[in-house]
């Protein structure tokens, strides 16, 4: 199959890092953010709603003709509400159903089965109420825990904003060793359990992980502003003045001191000590 992901914005010649090319606002963003972007938008998500045919080539059993295997994924839609929930890679499918040969195709939406549950994060030591699809619970059980599931799955499979933000929180908590359990022992135990996931990312990459393009640009601009130091203008003016005086001093000769007569030196207002 071609290397273009199904959710890429359409341009004539496919450019993988399109938002980051010269002239676009994303140009200024660091390589660390680009890595996350590729993991989120460019990398192909695991098939959830269809069965992918394995291999690259297949042979027709009757004719013996060899043809290429191209798995065209089923386009998914993610409504606004889905970003407040954990759908586990599922989405809404808009399509048609055609029940019989003489029946006309009928529009149909396939929507995941959602349930409100409680989920426990060991790293954050928190119980959270989330709306979750059936598939998500299966994935949590397969991965032996909510934190394992979130940290193992790449951003393209997590899809919802909530899931990405949770992953960002977990990674930063692990990176900073900011764990809030009852005892230090328990904190260390939890850290040992999950530290393997830190090896995939550097500290800078974790800093930029899970941000949307707007958030990343805001962060970049904020950092740029913070780097600027505001000094009072008078300091600059002082330096300028000193420079000017030095230059003037080199041009002219020193002025000799005037001699004062003894009459002028008498001060009639001088107070007498009596």
């Amino acid at each position: 199959m071609s290397k273009i992901p199904f959710n890429a914005t359409y341009i004539k010649r496919f450019v993988p890092d399109a938002p980051f090319i010269r002239g676009r606002p994303g140009e200024v963003l660091p390589e660390a953010y680009k890595k996350f972007w590729r993991e989120w938008k460019i990398q192909k998500p695991k098939p959830v709603h269809y069965i992918a045919e394995p291999g690259r080539w297949k042979r027709n059993p009757e004719t013996g003709e060899v043809s290429k295997v191209q798995n065209v994924p089923i386009p998914l839609k993610f409504p606004k509400d889905s970003h407040q929930q954990l759908w586990g890679g599922e989405g809404v499918i808009q399509g048609y159903q055609k029940k019989g040969k003489y029946n006309h195709r009928v529009p149909h939406f396939w929507v995941p089965n959602l349930k409100s549950t409680i989920v426990y994060s060991e790293i954050l030591n928190k119980y959270m109420t989330v709306v979750v699809a059936d598939n998500t619970m299966k994935l949590i059980h397969e991965n032996f825990g909510f934190d394992h599931y979130i940290l193992k799955t790449p951003a393209c499979d997590l899809q919802s904003d909530l899931a990405l933000k949770l992953k960002r929180k977990l990674l930063t908590a692990l990176n900073n060793k900011d764990l809030n359990h009852e005892s230090q022992e328990k904190n260390e135990m939890v850290y040992e359990k999950y530290k393997q996931y830190l090896s995939k990312y550097t500290a800078e990459e974790i800093e930029w992980y899970g941000l949307t393009m707007e958030e990343a640009l805001t962060k970049y601009n904020q950092e740029k502003e913070d780097r600027k130091t505001i000094e009072p203008l008078k300091l600059q003016y002082r330096l300028d003045l000193i420079q000017e005086l030095l230059e003037r001093g080199r041009e002219t000769e020193p002025v000799p001191e005037e001699k004062k007569s003894w009459l002028l030196r008498i001060n009639p207002f001088h107070s007498k000590k009596s």
């Binding site: 071609s2 043809s67 089923i74 409100s116």
Partner: protein, 260 residues
């Protein structure tokens, strides 16, 4: 878990990429079947050249349902208990339970962990034998004790023939009530109960039942006389167990009342 209405999500989804849809906008989209599903295209799209997107027409959006994963049989989850849990087992026991039950009753409250290799070493293998000796001899003992202690056993005896109460009478009464109790587990009161004696009708006495040859439960029993001749039978008392009864052995009245 509570169900979540997904139909309102769909109204925000309408918006095709330039293709026209003949969806009636006035009909509310009330989806009665909401499942996790695997679909297949009716018409697969043609092969595309390198670095080009596939051209998807309307016909490529006609899908057939291959499988609805909700209809698959739920596979049990293996979890290891971290403490004694009534009805499941003792600390260190590996339990195979349905996933929803395991998650809600055991994993979330922290009473069990998933059966990974590390957890097996930590909880299953490293538990000392002394630690593992349970409070009860088996998983269902606590529940059985509770049920038997609340039971008022109806011991039906003959109105005409002479009898002395014996363990087998009680075994049969238990059987009628739905309990399988062997005779060696039944301990009668010290004084023998003889009949038929209408003074004993509806009066309460206590026996001791031994579960797994270790745990003991006192069970309250009431004698009811019954005749094969329908004419001689005593009038039926509706819900006799809801009414208080006098003790059969008045000497034990104090202890009797405290236990009631």
């Amino acid at each position: 878990m509570t169900g979540y209405c997904a139909s309102r999500l769909v109204t925000g989804v309408l918006g095709w990429n330039g293709h026209c849809l003949r969806a009636p906008s006035t009909v509310p989209l009330i989806l009665q079947i909401r499942n996790t599903f695997i679909l297949q295209r009716r018409t697969p799209p043609g092969l595309t050249k390198k670095n080009k997107r596939p051209k998807l027409r309307s016909r490529h959006y006609v899908y057939d349902l291959v499988e609805d994963t909700n209809l698959r049989k739920q596979e049990n989850l293996n979890v290891i208990l971290t403490s004694y849990v009534q009805g499941f087992g003792v600390k260190g026991d590996r339990v195979s339970v349905k996933p929803k039950l395991a998650y809600e009753k055991l994993l979330l409250p922290g009473l069990a962990v998933y059966a990974t290799r590390e957890n097996v070493k930590m909880y299953e293998e490293s538990v000392d034998k002394e630690e593992k000796t349970p409070a009860f001899s088996s998983a269902s003992v606590e529940r059985t004790v509770g049920i038997l202690s609340r039971q008022i056993l109806a011991v039906v005896m003959n109105l005409e023939t002479e009898w002395t109460l014996q363990p087998w009478h009680l075994r049969i009464s238990f059987r009628k009530a739905g309990f399988i109790v062997p005779e060696y587990a039944i301990e009668l009161p010290e004084e023998p109960i003889k009949g038929p004696n209408l003074d004993l009708e509806g009066k309460e006495f206590k026996i001791t039942v031994t579960i797994n040859k270790s745990e003991t439960v006192p069970v309250r029993c009431r004698i009811h006389h019954w005749s094969t001749n329908p004419g001689d039978r005593l009038p039926y008392v509706q819900d006799h167990w809801q009414q208080t009864a006098e003790p059969l052995f008045p000497d034990n009245q104090k202890s009797f009342q405290s236990d009631q």
